[in-house]
């Protein structure tokens, strides 16, 4: 009776050797194996290592100051000015001065993160407090509540500035949140999560779908038919857009239906923004698929794009927290504009007019990828 075969290290080694030989043969994959972890680590390292700085805030210092006689010497002070100087010296914030109303408007339109109003009697009250009088003065802070981590940094900067001015003990700060309130962590995360899901999955599915034509051997046959390269490209785009729209519906349904994502703006506008962004990602995939020789190579491109996008688009860390030399890079990442659109419509309730720039940029990106796809698409065997 034949004996059962024992486990053979040699056979396992043969399988391992064969797999490694295949990987070694595919130079693009080999390059990716080393380049991808290094690139991702570098990007995340730089992105997460930064500190919040230069958050734009507007200060309306109405403090009239107070001249009081203490002992033999008269003392004139303006605590508001001290706070203002202290904030100016703090690199965490970038201070401009102006009317509180203009500051509010700036916060509402997204050009400014917070507006601070220091009341006219602020120093006077500080003196009265020093004399033991039971009075208080309130500063008013109108702040963007959609980015809790930046808000915390602005509040810390303000607290530090008040402490530096030393005279005020029991100061009170009235906080008003823009866009209708303070948002939960989930609320503020969902817009960028939606952007990430659409970036990663639409790219992945699109790349796999298009590259399957190459690996299935049907592409050379298509080259012999009257189908032109542009017709083929448009066909891919249309079909993938249909798939992408279905993904948008699922993502929004789960986000809004299950997690109760806040949508202060127009849901139709949100859907339109998601579809436009999806189109840009589909076109990116169609363009990139011209360079992938097989599905394995294609599938590696999705994380190579999605992971840096995640780190640099403001999803994980606010753009303000990125090192200043990286911040301009964020502005060329499509997902940054998707974040802006989804956050603007969902949390800030912006309409199409306010979001026109971001819509135009995403549409421009889609056109750019379309142009790149058109110029690189092939109508015969690559040789």
């Amino acid at each position: 009776m034949p004996r059962a075969r024992r486990f053979s290290v040699g056979r396992s080694a043969a399988v391992a050797g064969r797999v490694l030989a295949q990987i070694r043969r595919d130079r693009r994959t080999l390059g990716m194996l080393f380049a991808m972890p290094a690139v991702v680590m570098l990007i995340f390292g730089f992105a997460l290592g930064g500190q919040v700085s230069n958050v734009p805030i507007l200060v309306d210092n109405q403090d009239a100051g107070y001249a009081a006689s203490v002992g033999a010497n008269g003392t004139a002070l303006n605590v508001g000015s001290h706070i203002l100087d202290s904030l100016r010296a703090d690199s965490a914030v970038s201070v401009t001065t102006g009317s509180f109303a203009a500051g509010r408007q700036g916060v509402d339109s997204g050009t400014c993160f917070a507006a601070l109003l220091i009341p006219s009697n602020f120093t006077q009250v500080a003196f009265m407090q020093a004399q033991g009088r039971n009075v208080s003065a309130s500063m008013l802070l109108y702040i963007d509540g959609t980015k809790p981590s930046i808000a915390a940094n602005v509040l810390a900067a303000l607290q530090g500035a008040v402490q530096n001015s030393s005279r005020v003990r029991g100061f009170s700060l009235v906080q008003q949140y823009a866009y209708g309130g303070k948002f939960s962590g989930l609320d503020v995360s969902l817009p960028s999560v939606i952007a990430f899901v659409l970036t990663f999955l639409v790219l992945l599915i699109s790349l796999l779908t298009v590259s399957r034509e190459t690996t299935s051997g049907t592409l050379p046959r298509l080259y012999t038919t009257p189908l032109t390269a542009i017709e083929r490209l448009v066909g891919y785009t249309l079909s993938l857009l249909v798939v992408g729209i279905m993904m948008v519906v699922v993502v929004l349904a789960v986000g809004i239906g299950l997690f109760g994502a806040v949508v202060r703006g127009d849901p139709i506008l949100l859907f339109g923004a998601a579809v436009l962004y999806t189109l840009s990602q589909v076109l990116l995939a169609v363009f990139l698929s011209n360079f992938a020789r097989n599905e394995f190579q294609a599938v590696q491109l999705a994380p190579l794009i999605a992971l840096p996008s995640m780190a640099l688009s403001g999803m994980l860390v606010p753009i303000f927290s990125l090192p200043s030399w990286i911040q301009p890079v964020s502005k060329v990442i499509p997902m940054y504009y998707a974040n802006q659109l989804f956050e603007g419509i969902m949390l800030k309730g912006y309409g199409a007019g306010t979001m026109a720039f971001d819509f135009a940029v995403v549409a421009g990106i889609a056109l750019l990828f379309l142009a790149l796809a058109l110029t690189t698409v092939k109508d015969r065997i690559n040789a």
Partner: protein, 244 residues
């Protein structure tokens, strides 16, 4: 109908010369068999004839139009059944045929009629709704031929169309090719199976990208004083292993 003049195709910046100065002419309504060992440049030649591959130098024309420049002018008049089945295995036979019919601009009525007709001839009736992945090798081959013939082309390229199929089916396909020829169709087929070539009207023997001899099967065997095309091939190739 099909003409090649000093046709050359190089790969890897000249490192590989797959087709090396090939010159041949194929007349309307004939079955021409391009015979050669694996790697002799047959598929590369067909790819250049169909416009799927650009030559490095030389000229190739089909239906009087230079390829690949004039591909758009003639692609609707040629049919191609590639060496690989080149069908969408996750679609049904009907979906595959329907897709190619649309690429050739066939309307639904014409497609239905032609699809039924070809299913009957190629013995694919009853498998219209089968996934291509579930068809046997022979059926896939016939399905691929069906997709090449749907739009009633004037010239058809069958690249190794009869390779890997059983003798009964092969005999049937040859009968079918002859019936197509009698209707005026020009057929170029490639094969590395020598005994098949004797069924063609003319044969071109290819070796290392060069046409080493050409003629009617009977004249070829007479010229080389042998009894079969295989012997002609072996004589011309010096019995060397030419498989790339």
């Amino acid at each position: 109908m099909i003409e090649c003049q000093s046709l050359v195709k190089e790969f890897k910046e000249g490192e590989i010369r797959a087709v090396d100065g090939l010159t041949l002419g194929i007349r309307k309504g004939e079955i021409y068999a391009l015979i050669g060992a694996n790697g002799s440049g047959k598929t590369t030649t067909v790819n250049m004839m169909t416009g799927a591959l650009a030559p490095t130098s030389g000229r190739v024309s089909v239906l009087g139009v230079d390829m690949p420049q004039g591909k758009r002018l003639v692609s609707g008049r040629i049919g191609v059944a590639p060496q690989e089945y080149s069908l969408y295995s996750d679609l049904t036979l009907e979906q595959n045929a329907g897709f190619f019919a649309k690429l050739y601009g066939m309307d639904s009525k014409r497609f239905r009629k032609r699809f039924q007709e070809l299913n009957e001839i190629l013995r694919l009736r009853g498998r219209e709704h089968s996934l291509v992945s579930n068809l046997s090798g022979g059926m896939k081959r016939r399905a691929s031929i069906e997709c090449a013939l749907l739009h009633e082309p004037e010239v058809v390229f069958f690249d190794e169309a009869t390779v890997g199929i059983d003798p009964v089916l092969r005999a049937f396909l040859w009968d079918y090719f002859r019936s197509l020829r009698s209707k005026g169709l020009t057929i170029l087929l490639t094969s590395h199976v020598m005994d098949e070539a004797s069924k063609a009207d003319r044969i071109g023997l290819v070796r290392a990208g060069k046409l080493v001899d050409e003629g009617e099967p009977s004249s070829l065997t007479a010229r080389h004083n042998v009894s079969s095309i295989e012997e002609v091939f072996l004589k011309l190739s010096g019995k060397e292993l030419t498989d790339a």
